[in-house]
C-alpha cells in the first residue's frame, strides 16, 4: 500500500513538473479559462446578477479543470505511444493502471491552475469579492473534486488505449460535460431526460460541492454529501478503467498492436 501511494505521489509530482514546463499545457490551463471567465463574468453582469460573479469565476475554473483532464488524459496514452515509451510502461512490473493514474491525476492538478487563475482574474479585473460561503470547505472541495476528476480521467485514458485517434472522442466531449455537470448552468434548466446522464458524472457532484462551498447555504452537508458522491463515482470509474485496461493490455499483447498509432 505504501509502495502504491509512493508511486502515485512521485508520479503526480513528476508529471505536474513536466506539464508545468509545457507552454501549450499552460495555455490550456490558464489563458483559455481566463477567456471563459471573462465571458462568464460579462454574461452574468449583463444578466443583472452581480451576486453570482464569484460563481461564474469558479465555474470557469471548473471548466478549465475538466478541459485539462479531458485532453490531458486523452493525450496521456497517445503521447507515450508517440514517444515510444508505451511498451516500456506496459512491460513494467507495475500494473498499467497504476502507471497511468498519476498522469491523469496530474492533468487534474494542472487544471487547478485554471481555478486559481479565474478566481484571481475575477478579483483583480472585475472586483469580484472573495466572499465564499464556506472558505475552508472550498479548499477541501477543490482538491477532492480534482481527485475525482483525475480518476475519471483514468477511464478516459483507458478508452483511448483502444482508439488510435483519441482526439476524435475528446474534442466533442468538452462542452456537453460543462453543460451536463452544471458548471455554469444549473442542470435543472436542461431537459429531464438528460438528468440521469448528469447524475452519472463525477463532475456534476464535484461542481455541486464547489458551488455550494462558494455560494451555498449554511449547512456543511451541502458540500460534503456531493463531495462524497463525486469520490464514490470517481472510484467506480477508476475501477472500470482497471478492468478495461487489463483487457485492452491482454489483447494488445496478443495481437502485437500496442505501438500501432
Amino acid at each position: 500500500m505504501i509502495r502504491v501511494l509512493r508511486l502515485v505521489v512521485v508520479g503526480v509530482r513528476t508529471h505536474v513538473s513536466y506539464m508545468s514546463r509545457s507552454p501549450i499545457e499552460i495555455t490550456f490551463a490558464v489563458l483559455v479559462p481566463l477567456v471563459y471567465a471573462t465571458l462568464a463574468v460579462h454574461l452574468f453582469r449583463a444578466a443583472g446578477d452581480p451576486d453570482r460573479l464569484l460563481t461564474a469565476s469558479v465555474g470557469a475554473g471548473l471548466m478549465g479543470i475538466w478541459g485539462s483532464v479531458l485532453f490531458g488524459s486523452g493525450g496521456a496514452v497517445q503521447n507515450q505511444r508517440w514517444l515510444g515509451t508505451l511498451e516500456t510502461l506496459v512491460v513494467a512490473p507495475t500494473p498499467l493502471a497504476l502507471v497511468l493514474l498519476p498522469v491523469t491525476l496530474a492533468t487534474a492538478v494542472i487544471g487547478t491552475y485554471a481555478m486559481g487563475a479565474t478566481v484571481l482574474w475575477g478579483v483583480l479585473l472585475f472586483g469580484v469579492p472573495l466572499d465564499f460561503a464556506h472558505p475552508l470547505l472550498f479548499l477541501l472541495a477543490v482538491p477532492v473534486c480534482v481527485l475525482a476528476l483525475g480518476m475519471t480521467g483514468l477511464l478516459l485514458a483507458a478508452t483511448f488505449v483502444l482508439l488510435r485517434n483519441a482526439n476524435a472522442l475528446a474534442n466533442p466531449l468538452d462542452t456537453p460535460v460543462w453543460l451536463l455537470s452544471g458548471l455554469l448552468v444549473p442542470i435543472t434548466v436542461l431537459p429531464a431526460w438528460t438528468h440521469p446522464l448528469s447524475w452519472a458524472l463525477p463532475t456534476t457532484w464535484g461542481a455541486r460541492a464547489v458551488h455550494a462551498a462558494t455560494s451555498g447555504g449554511p449547512g456543511a452537508g451541502e458540500v460534503l454529501v456531493p463531495l462524497l458522491a463525486a469520490v464514490a463515482l470517481g472510484s467506480g470509474y477508476a475501477l472500470a478503467a482497471v478492468l478495461v485496461l487489463g483487457r485492452v493490455e491482454r489483447r494488445a499483447r496478443a495481437a502485437a498492436t500496442l505501438a500501432l498509432a
Binding site: L39, A46, N167, W178
Partner: protein, 263 residues
C-alpha cells in the same frame, strides 16, 4: 492567359494536394467529432446558458455560435497549413518553388474556407432543427453568402496566424488563444453591447463579427445588410494582406538566417 491558368491550377490543385498531404492522418470520426459534433454541442451550451441568464434569445446564441463554428476549421487549419509544413520538414521544398506566393498560400487556405462553410451550414441547420428555430427559406441564399464571406475572412486570419509559424516554434499556442478570443470578442456568445468599448472595437477588427450580425439579421427576416457584408469583406482582405506580408517577411528572414527548418 497561360499565366492565369497556371496560377488557377496552383491555387486549386496545389491547395487540394497540400490539404490531402498535411491531413492524411485525419479520419472521418475525427472530422465528424471535432468539426461537426463539437461545435454543435457548443451551440446547445450557450443556448442553455443564454436561457438561464436571459441576456439574449435562442436565435442570438444559435446563429452566433453557428457562424463561429467555421473558426474551428479556419483558424486551426490556416495555422496548420503553414506550421505543419515546417513541422514535417517539407517547408523547404515548398519555398524552393519559383511560383508566386499569393496563389500558393491562397490555395492552402481554400480547403479551410470550404470546410468552414460546410461546418457553419451544418451546425446552423442541425441546431435550428433540434431547437425548432426555423430559418426563413428566403434567407438561405443570403446566409450562404454571409457564411462564405465569414469563412474566407476567418481563413485569412488563420493564415496570418500560421505565418507566425515560420518564425515561432509553438504557433498552436497562438491559435488556441486566438480561437477562444474569437468566442469572446466577436459577440458570438455574449452581446457586444454589454462589453467594454475597447473589446467592442477589437471585435470590429476580427473576422466573423460582422458575419454573425448579418446572419442574425437574415434569420430574423430583416434582409441582407450590405454594410455588414462589406465590413466582413474588408476585415478578410486586411488579414489576407497581413498574411501574405508576414509570410513574405518571415520567409526572407528565415532564408537569411538559415533557420527555415529549425524547430
Amino acid at each position: 492567359m497561360f499565366r492565369f491558368l497556371g496560377s488557377a491550377r496552383l491555387l486549386l490543385i496545389g491547395g487540394a494536394l497540400s490539404y490531402r498531404a498535411l491531413f492524411n492522418w485525419t479520419t472521418p470520426p475525427m472530422f465528424i467529432g471535432t468539426l461537426l459534433v463539437g461545435p454543435l454541442l457548443q451551440v446547445f451550451f450557450f443556448v442553455y446558458l443564454g436561457r438561464e441568464l436571459g441576456v439574449a434569445d435562442d436565435r442570438f446564441h444559435l446563429v452566433g455560435n453557428a457562424v463561429l463554428a467555421a473558426s474551428a476549421s479556419c483558424v486551426y487549419g490556416g495555422t496548420m497549413a503553414v506550421a505543419n509544413e515546417r513541422r514535417y520538414g517539407t517547408l523547404g521544398a515548398v519555398l524552393l518553388s519559383p511560383r508566386h506566393r499569393v496563389p500558393l498560400w491562397a490555395g492552402r487556405a481554400l480547403p479551410y474556407v470550404l470546410n468552414g462553410l460546410l461546418i457553419s451550414a451544418f451546425v446552423l441547420a442541425a441546431a435550428a432543427t433540434v431547437l425548432d428555430l426555423p430559418v426563413p427559406p428566403g434567407a438561405v441564399p443570403g446566409l450562404g453568402l454571409v457564411l462564405l464571406l465569414g469563412a474566407v475572412a476567418c481563413s485569412a486570419f488563420g493564415l496570418a496566424l500560421g505565418a507566425l509559424g515560420l518564425r515561432f516554434r509553438d504557433v498552436f499556442l497562438v491559435s488556441n488563444v486566438a480561437s477562444s478570443t474569437l468566442l469572446l470578442l466577436t459577440g458570438a456568445a455574449v452581446p457586444r453591447e454589454t462589453l467594454p468599448e475597447w473589446m467592442r472595437t477589437a471585435g470590429e477588427l476580427l473576422p466573423l463579427t460582422h458575419a454573425a450580425d448579418a446572419a442574425r439579421r437574415l434569420t430574423a427576416g430583416d434582409g441582407l445588410d450590405a454594410g455588414l457584408l462589406a465590413a466582413e469583406l474588408l476585415v478578410g482582405a486586411g488579414y489576407a494582406v497581413l498574411a501574405v506580408t508576414l509570410l513574405a517577411l518571415f520567409e526572407r528572414g528565415s532564408r537569411r538566417r538559415a533557420t527555415l527548418d529549425v524547430m
